[in-house]
Amino acid sequence: MSALASGPDVAATDLLDSTQLKGRARKATIFRTLLFAAVGFTIAMLGVLIGPR
């Protein structure tokens, strides 16, 4: 507790910087899209392989 109290003088607004949070959220969204794309690619390849031509 005392360590927190004597820690660096950082305002809560700086810690919760909205631009930084938005950046992290955007990265997470892009990553999730990539994951879905990879799974979609694999399923699509399977579909093309064993599906009707």
Binding site: R24, A25, F31, L35, A38, F41, T42
Partner: protein
């Protein structure tokens, strides 16, 4: 031992203990009978025999490869074989420089990994960290279905779909048989291998590590990429090296889609012949037993075996180096 347990625990259930003791005596009596000893020994010998069969088969294969390869190196020098840049083994006065076959094999393995590693890893992360149990129970069997498709189907897939419908519209100079289509097909074939093995490694990471990272305010992506993946690195690397070995040894896809023109592979849009591709071509022809071409098959096979062996040894060292042990 049991007496001291009873004396230290006055509340112990004595009838139950007596019964357990009598059960133990009966089991000991049964194990000490002649027939029991015999069957135990028989099971032991059977298991040793099963182990020996696989070991002796491997030793036999290696011995045959070495014997025939040594005969080949009586006809062609080792330096000409390893560093020659012309492979015309099936011609009347053929050259046996293996570099064209090796470069095509390495190029196909490398390009296939460009497809397999990112897609396989992303699928593994999705299955392990993002998918709900219900989605995982559907997706995993579907992935395994892809792993069960015969490789010859992938070969025709490369020849009849990847080359005309994907590569030709992008690169007009693409030839009918080309290394790139074969590489993409091999890459797609090994995606389930990378995904499945990596997913096992990711799932084995203790839950406490994830919870600690979530507790620090990390997003799911940060937990996946900065905590779980580094912790499972040894398993992931092992899966990748296994996939590379699989790509090196792949036969049917490259035999069908990459063509049979043995030349130093410098353009993936042109045909090339891999080591396994040459073996298929030679064995499906009328190669005379005992001829230099026949013996060259074993020399190429031995080289392929050594490359795969080195890859497996590297894999073992990497796994040992990055192994993280958790309680």
């Amino acid at each position: 031992m049991t007496q001291s347990v009873v004396s230290r625990n006055p509340g112990v259930n004595r009838p139950l203990l007596n019964r357990a003791r009598s059960d133990e005596e009966i089991a000991n009596q049964l194990l000490n009978t002649k027939s029991a000893k015999f069957s135990e020994r028989l099971i032991g010998y059977s298991l040793v025999a099963c182990g020996l069969i696989s070991v002796l088969t491997t030793v036999g294969i290696v011995l045959v490869l070495i014997e025939e390869a040594l005969q080949f190196f009586g006809d062609v020098s080792l330096v000409d074989f390893l560093f020659g840049t012309e492979w015309t083994a099936l011609f009347a006065d053929g050259s046996f420089g293996v570099l064209p076959l090796v470069t095509a094999t390495v190029m196909i393995a490398a390009l296939s990994m460009v497809v397999a590693i990112p897609v396989g890893l992303l699928v593994a992360i999705y299955l392990s960290e993002y998918a709900s149990p219900k989605v995982r129970s559907v997706l995993k069997p579907v992935m395994e279905l892809l792993a069960g498709v015969p490789t010859i189907v992938f070969g025709y897939f490369a020849l009849t779909f990847i080359t005309p419908s994907v590569l030709k519209p992008i690169f007009s100079e693409t030839q009918v048989f080309n290394i790139l289509a074969a590489s993409i097909a091999v890459g797609i074939m090994v995606i389930p291998l990378v995904a499945s093995l990596s997913e096992d490694a990711l799932s084995a990471v203790p839950r406490a590590l994830r919870e600690g990272a979530f507790g620090m305010g990390a997003t799911r992506m940060e937990v996946s990429t900065q905590v779980v993946v580094p912790a499972a690195l040894s398993g992931i690397v092992a899966s990748i090296v296994l996939a590379i070995s699989r790509a090196f040894g792949e036969t049917m896809i490259v035999a069908i889609a990459a063509g049979s023109k043995a030349q130093i592979a410098d353009n993936p849009l042109e045909p090339g012949q891999t080591m396994t591709g040459f073996m298929v071509q030679a064995f499906s022809g009328d190669v005379e037993t005992g001829s230099t071409v026949y013996k060259s098959l074993f020399a190429v096979g031995l080289l392929l075996f050594l490359i795969t062996l080195v890859l497996n040894l590297i894999s073992n060292r990497i796994v040992a180096k990055f192994r993280e042990a958790y309680d």
